[in-house]
């Protein structure tokens, strides 16, 4: 019941789900695609890391890199199957969303068929040590999760702010038509965006697998949490997603300590509904940086 425990747990949860939420937000705002296939990418990357750890090496950086890479591949697959054929067809948003759901159905059933329903565990990536700061015990996996995801987020945000590709993605977020006039290819950018967001999901998968097992359907809960965070943050806003993940992370750790695990989603959704009823565009509506349609 101590406050540090709640704080630390909140940050850890916020980090993992925040990655997925930011991925959902970036995809929505730059491609206009509501990608619900991240659940599949999550499981896919987890299995990728598992296969690597079994067949190649259990050396932690390799496993981590494998998860991230396989996640990126998953993103590229979704881009090639859904975004490329659909993006200039009528009714793209609904069809895109349903299409990613179809991919997620095929993908998770395919994993179930290939690997069987038994849960798989990844090797420990961050070792087994702990640090004590001011009377609080910080275990290695928690520190690793927080450091990895924050480094990834900062890298991506910096990259989007300063590089040529980042400018490309941001330009496409704002105005796809003008982007093509400037010489930005929508399809190629789609691959970059989906690759990067897939990599983020892959990282989240490897990080979460330190706590939970990998199974064909293990991506669904993170997906729903990530999507709810993105929703609260206001779809399309990276800043909003980060703030929302912190809020919901604390809400989750507070609820599960005070009330019990089964009320976690209830409090979270009460918060989400309350904020959305006041501001239909979520936290981004308060920050006022949402995608202008």
């Amino acid at each position: 019941m101590d406050i540090e425990f709640i704080l630390i747990n909140g940050i850890v949860i916020a980090c993992i789900y925040g990655l997925i939420a930011v991925a959902v937000s970036i995809t929505w705002s730059s491609l206009g695609l509501l990608n619900l296939g991240y659940g599949f990418i999550f499981a896919f990357a987890g299995y990728g890391a598992y296969v690597t750890s079994r067949s190649l090496s259990e050396y932690p950086p390799v496993v981590l890199a494998a998860g991230v890479l396989v996640g990126a591949v998953g993103g590229v697959i979704i881009c090639a199957l859904i975004f490329i054929p659909l993006h200039e067809k009528p009714n793209f948003t609904v069809r895109g969303m349903v299409g990613t759901l179809a991919i997620s159905l095929i993908g998770s059933q395919g994993l179930l068929w290939w690997f069987g329903p038994r849960n798989k565990a990844l090797p420990e990536i961050f070792g087994r040590w702990q640090v004590e700061i001011g009377g609080t015990v910080l275990t290695s996996d928690k520190i690793g999760i927080v450091v990895c995801s924050i480094v990834m987020l900062i890298l991506i945000v910096r990259w989007m702010r300063s590089s040529r590709r980042g400018l490309e993605i941001r330009a496409m977020m704002m105005n796809p038509h003008a982007a093509s006039i400037v010489g930005i290819g929508i399809r190629k950018t789609g691959f970059y965006v989906m690759g990067i967001t897939g990599a983020m999901t892959g990282l989240a998968a490897v990080l979460l697998s330190q706590t939970y097992y990998i199974s064909p359907f293990s991506g669904i809960t993170p997906l729903i949490k990530g999507v709810s965070i993105a929703l609260l943050g206001g779809l399309g806003s990276v800043r909003g997603a980060v703030i929302a993940s912190v809020i919901l992370g604390f809400a989750e750790s507070l609820t599960s300590t005070v009330l019990g695990g089964q009320y976690v989603l209830i409090t979270q959704f009460l918060i989400i509904i309350a904020i959305l009823m006041i501001r239909p565009r979520g936290i981004a509506g308060i920050l006022d940086v949402a995608r202008e349609q």
Binding site: N175, A178, S180
Partner: protein, 237 residues
Amino acid sequence: MHEILNVNGLSAGYGPLRVIHDLDLTIKAGERVGLVGLNGHGKTTLFYAIAGLTGWQRGSIVFNGREVGGTRSQGPGRYTHLIVRQGLALMPQADELFHGLTVEEHLDSGAFTKTAWKTRKQRKERVLELFAPLRDRLKTPVSRLSGGERRMVSIGRGLMVDAKLYLSDEPSLGLAPKIGIGVMEALLKIDLSGSAMIIAEQNVALLEGRVDRVIGMHAGKLKGEASLASSIKRRKA
């Protein structure tokens, strides 16, 4: 001087609407051409056809020695970025800005092609010399600019690359006359060695005496330059 653009028998439109009828046009390097015509007579559509943004098009467009036209009926904008990378700078009528980006980022985005990206600082300097008012607004998001400044950003973005062909669509539209003239002057200052420029305009007075030649456009066809001899010659060919 070699030909930058050679449009031959171009027809273009959107769905059942045909805007451009069998149009022929040749632009040589170093030329600054005015394209004059009323609203709805196909000036913008001609530009869009060159950039591959129309609903459908038919006929040949040879841009910089490469065929970019051809018969096409699907996916407006699918090949636009490739055409743009060959050296086309389109400054569209409705500005088409990225609302959340700053002025500086806009100018950077204009130099998006790989070669131009490396020298974007010098290019930015060059554009800022033309549009001095933008200099102290580099960090401002575009959505906070006035109409004239936005037009400057839009045109400046087009001027960031060493384009072979600049297409400026109604640069003075919706601006106060004085600012409009300023924008036009800036367009005229650009050095056109080895490249060409077409300025579409409704206001003929702004173009008079400032461009090399003026072509009229009426109901999807060119007029004004044609003569009987050239008509016969064209028909023979």
